[in-house]
């Protein structure tokens, strides 16, 4: 048995893109290291950030992490677009296998690390503030969940440095292509273990948020007085804890099959490939609702604040979120209508899929009615909201079209599908992340983002999005399937692909403007009050940024818009501090994640002694931690 498992010198970078990526990663780490050393901030980094259990710090780290992964995902997207624009009657500049690896990693990174990273970041920051709490229910698990996600993010990028190949199977790693017979290399294993670790992180976060929302609300805040962002996040987290275990189990089965040569999904020996489809989409469909529900809540907050009006139809909004949560479990088969389930089964799933339009419609009407007769200010978060509204309508209608099985037979796995789901994730989730970050930026960092540049960036994103994706809708109808690395010029598709490429160039400009916006805002920063937008919910009653304990005194809540009522009555939050109990910093989240990373890496490369070491490390950390009964610190009122 080889001491290094499957690792050889060949695993080191020797192709243009692995060398390029390795050099980039090395340079970035070097730059960060030099900066920290020069400013002597290693200790500060460790004490203030890496070992912190404060959800505000963890939230900021999630957002930074998501932003980094966003750049990686966008580079993948740009490479895909470029390839498709030039590959008419030619192989383009990418081999087929490389192209497949790119779209696989693009999907997994955007779904697991970018969107969920942004959302967990904002939820960590805002949910405790909105419910009048100081922390999440399980501060240690919060830290652990974050570091597991980061470690998953490292694993998904590690192949550049060690291994040189990633999964080429598509983002959900369909069998039997992802099985041992057709993909014996390390690529699929990297994907599986990246998802396992970050999936575990997401599960812990979901658990944490649910217990926090159910158990740690301020006195007087009944469930029906919670802000809508908290409600939709709760629904999203319910989906997380019920769907992610399915992903864990399914990818576990796939890994077992690959590692031990078993037969769950193989083409012979009694395997059943359709079972993989059912299992993975049983996770996959709730997952996409996890990607949109928190965003819906963010939009509700934004519309209400910038219309200076209570959200219209609060109860129906809550019901809509719950209905979406419930229905999302009943539609998974619409991802594979064409795979022979028969008309009866297809009809059931088609009808239920269409039913989801109802709660979605309810929400849209409620948002519009909130704006009606309100004093609407179009600050930049509202720009993102209006952009979302238009985009959501179009993407949603495309979805309803595909919900009909006969129609879906024409457009299944065509670029029409790609256009639909990108409309949803970009229009709802990414625009939502931008809207949320813009809206809560002053609360988080204490100064405003430049409004003019923000609005300009929006226009580039919005126009660029349509220039990119309308051609894809058309291409889908013209018969272009997804994941094509080259095609015949006689199809006349190329002009549309080139238009699409222009679209991403426009989006690229939008991103550049956002970077400039950040730099300009930091340079010209002025401290803002706790309430720069004239907000209505509790987070605006604290300073910007809030003190580490959030609230000096936990407020008692008497309505759905506690801060707005406080302002109307001319009340101020109490300045006197009561006794505050907070969780201490701990490095164990890092240590456990570190050992998990070693174990996962060792599993990918079959380095058996390292697997054992990693697992023993994790177990030892957990046992040592369990004997530490004093993880909390008391701050008396000063």
């Amino acid at each position: 048995m080889n001491f290094f498992g499957k690792l050889t010198l060949d695993s080191l970078p020797h192709v243009w893109y692995t060398i390029g990526a390795t050099v980039s990663i090395a340079l970035m780490c070097l730059a960060a290291g030099m900066f920290l050393t020069k400013r002597q901030k290693w200790g500060w980094l460790w004490n203030e950030w890496l070992t912190s259990t404060d959800p505000k710090k963890i939230g900021t780290m999630y957002i930074i992490f998501a932003t980094l992964m966003f750049f990686r995902g966008m580079i993948d997207a740009a490479m895909i677009w470029l390839q498709q624009a030039i590959a008419a009657d030619s192989q383009g500049y990418l081999t087929a296998d490389h192209f497949q690896q790119i779209f696989t990693s693009h999907g997994d990174i955007m779904v697991f690390f970018v969107t969920m990273g942004f959302f967990f970041g904002l939820m960590n920051w805002i949910i405790p503030l909105q419910i009048g709490a100081r922390d999440l229910a399980f501060p240690f698990l919060n830290s652990l969940g974050f570091w597991l996600t980061v470690v998953g993010g490292i694993l998904i990028n590690l192949f550049f440095i060690i291994g040189g190949e990633f999964a080429n199977t598509g983002w959900v790693a369909i069998t039997p292509l992802s099985g041992l017979e057709f993909n014996p290399g390390v690529g699929v294993d990297y994907l599986i273990w990246s998802l396992q670790l970050s999936g575990l992180g997401s599960l812990l976060a979901g658990l944490n948020f649910i217990v926090t929302i159910i158990k740690h609300r301020a006195p007087g805040m009944t469930l029906m007085r919670m802000p809508l962002f908290v409600w939709t996040s709760l629904c999203g987290m319910i989906l997380v804890i019920s769907a992610f275990p399915v992903l864990t189990a399914t990818t576990l089965l796939l890994w077992l099959e690959r590692f031990f040569d078993l037969h769950f999904f193989t083409a012979s020996f009694g395997g059943n490939q359709m079972m993989y489809f059912n299992l993975i989409w049983m996770w996959g469909h709730p997952e996409v609702y996890i990607l949109v529900l928190p965003a819906f809540g963010m939009y509700s907050e934004i519309v209400s604040t910038f219309s200076q009006k209570r959200i219209f139809g609060y109860v129906s909004m809550v019901c809509a979120a719950l209905m979406i949560t419930f229905l999302s479990y009943l539609v998974w088969l619409h991802h594979f209508f064409t795979m022979g389930s028969g008309a009866d089964v297809n009809s059931f799933f088609g009808i239920v899929t269409m039913l989801i339009a109802i709660p979605s419609g309810v929400q849209v009407f409620n948002w519009i009615l909130t704006m009606h007769k309100g004093k609407v200010t179009f600050a930049s978060p509202m720009y993102w909201f209006v952009g979302f509204l238009i985009t959501f309508m179009i993407g949603g209608m495309a979805g309803i079209l595909m919900a009909s099985p006969p129609a879906d037979f024409q457009v299944h796995n065509s670029l029409f599908l790609i256009a639909h789901f990108h409309t949803m994730v970009i229009g709802v989730a990414i625009f939502g992340a931008f809207a949320g970050v813009t809206y809560w930026f002053p609360k988080i960092f204490g100064f405003m983002l430049d409004e003019r540049l923000g609005k300009l960036a929006f226009w580039f994103w919005f126009i660029g999005f349509f220039v990119s994706f309308v051609p894809l809708y058309l291409l889908g109808f013209m018969g272009a399937t997804r994941r094509l690395d080259h095609y015949a010029a006689s199809t006349h598709w190329q002009p549309l692909f080139i238009t699409s490429l222009a679209g991403i160039a426009i989006i690229g400009c939008g991103i550049l403007i956002q970077i400039v916006q950040l730099i300009v805002s930091i340079r010209g920063r002025k401290q803002v009050s706790g309430d720069p937008w004239n907000g209505r919910t509790l987070e605006w009653s604290t300073s910007s940024p809030p003190p580490f304990y959030n609230f000096a005194v936990i407020p008692t809540v008497t309505s759905r818009e506690p801060f707005w009522d406080m302002k109307q009555k001319g009340m101020h939050p109490s300045q006197k501090r009561e006794e505050i109990v907070l969780f201490k910093n701990t490095g164990f989240g890092l240590y456990i994640s570190g050992f998990s990373f070693l174990a996962a890496f060792a599993i990918v490369w079959r380095i058996y002694w390292l697997i054992a070491l990693g697992l023993l490390g994790v177990i030892a950390c957990i046992i040592i931690l369990s004997f530490n009964d004093e993880m909390e610190e008391v701050y008396d009122g000063k």
Binding site: K215, H216, R217, A218, P219, G220, M221, T222, I554
Partner: protein, 75 residues
């Protein structure tokens, strides 16, 4: 009293287990499908018995029961 509840739970589970195994060993009585249905029902009943008697789930003091999620929450 607590001890008695747990002994009842244990004996009840024992009976349900033995019954299930007896049915599996002699499937002629209910037929294959009938036996499977019967043992599934026995399994659910045993689950409930263990849940109630081993975990003492009807006690008012049990924190899980008294979630009070719809009422104002005091910390």
């Amino acid at each position: 009293m607590d001890l008695l509840l747990r002994i009842i739970g244990f004996v009840g589970s024992l009976i349900l287990t033995l019954a299930a195994f007896a049915l599996i060993a002699y499937p002629e009585y209910f037929g294959a499908k009938g036996t499977v249905l019967a043992i599934l029902i026995l399994a659910v009943i045993q689950f409930i018995v263990q849940f109630v008697f081993f975990l003492n789930f009807w006690r008012e003091k049990s924190p899980f029961w008294n979630m009070g999620i719809l009422f104002p929450k005091s910390k």
